[in-house]
Amino acid sequence: MQTDLIHAVSAIGRIKYDPAMSRIAKNATHFKYNLSLALQLIDGILSLAVNVAVMMRTDELLSIFLNFASLHFLQEIDICGYELIEKGFFGRTMEIWCEIVRQIELPRRQSDKWLHKITTSLFFGTALVLLITYGVIVYSIYGPSKSACVFHTCYVDDYVDDAVWD
């Protein structure tokens, strides 16, 4: 689902910009390569944030799965856009640009060893952050003290005495 996030992190960790790219596409500068990665990373993080937030606020089991499916559609909007371009709906010139994209290959990153670790650490780091968030939420509900609620508005259900909150 998080293809953009996964691809961006993987590309940062494994692939490096190659100036030889400009032989095929003159405008493929290093700045634009980095811009593309940054945009993709932001997109992925936004997508993940929305996904988790929607999942956490949903209070019906079936709705969680339905929301997952709906968000999947939203996350693939740019892929739909690219397919339209690729199939020539935006003109022949743009179709040729897509053909050029297919021809370009980038080399593996060799020297920066710490960047290799980013791929692994960001993957497990993201999963860890999400699990910690989940843990904090569960603690705020089932924790020993009701004041443990860390968020600005807490849900109060029928079983909790309202007087405790007053």
Binding site: D4, L39, V50, N51, W97, V101, P107, F151
Partner: protein, 203 residues
Amino acid sequence: MTLVEEEGRLALDFSLKLEQGKSLDLEKGIHDDNDDIFDVMDNSNNYKEEEDDGGGEFESSRINKSTMKSTIRQSFFYLSPKSCVVTQNQQEKETFPLKNSVYSLIIITPIFSLAFLVSMYWILLKYLLFAMLLPNTNEEGTFKVPHNRPLLIAKFLLIPVSFTYRTPILYCIVSFLFPSSVFTLLSKKALIHMYLSIILNIG
């Protein structure tokens, strides 16, 4: 040639170089393991042979079984994980294709061109939709969570779903492509394990 074999061959072609010693050990290990299975089957065949005294018919079935054995051996070899050592030279040659997406288009197109603008349109559209959606998730408090244990468990289980849910489905599809000889020759116990694995993956 079955799809599994073809896939294995492609994987072998793609993998840069097997470390000679380690791979040989590994293969030996696999063959040893397989031989155990085949030894058991051979014993059972011998037992049958003693009972039946089949003669000529048995000879032909034996040849067929030996061909099947070699097919299974090949399948196990292609499916088995292989240790490989990639040399520096090979790493330098290794390349990754640019992803087919609007993000790649903005790399190669000039800034003042229709292609760049259209690509940016799709990216910004996505950003806008997420930006519109995010405040709605915060309408009644950041994380409004009721006292509902199954719901909390479902949420916990769904956290890593987005990273991992594709692989099991792929495994199930591949398992249906196993040669039929696998199912006929494997022992009952191994078959149960295999079916259980497939069912669990479908689940």
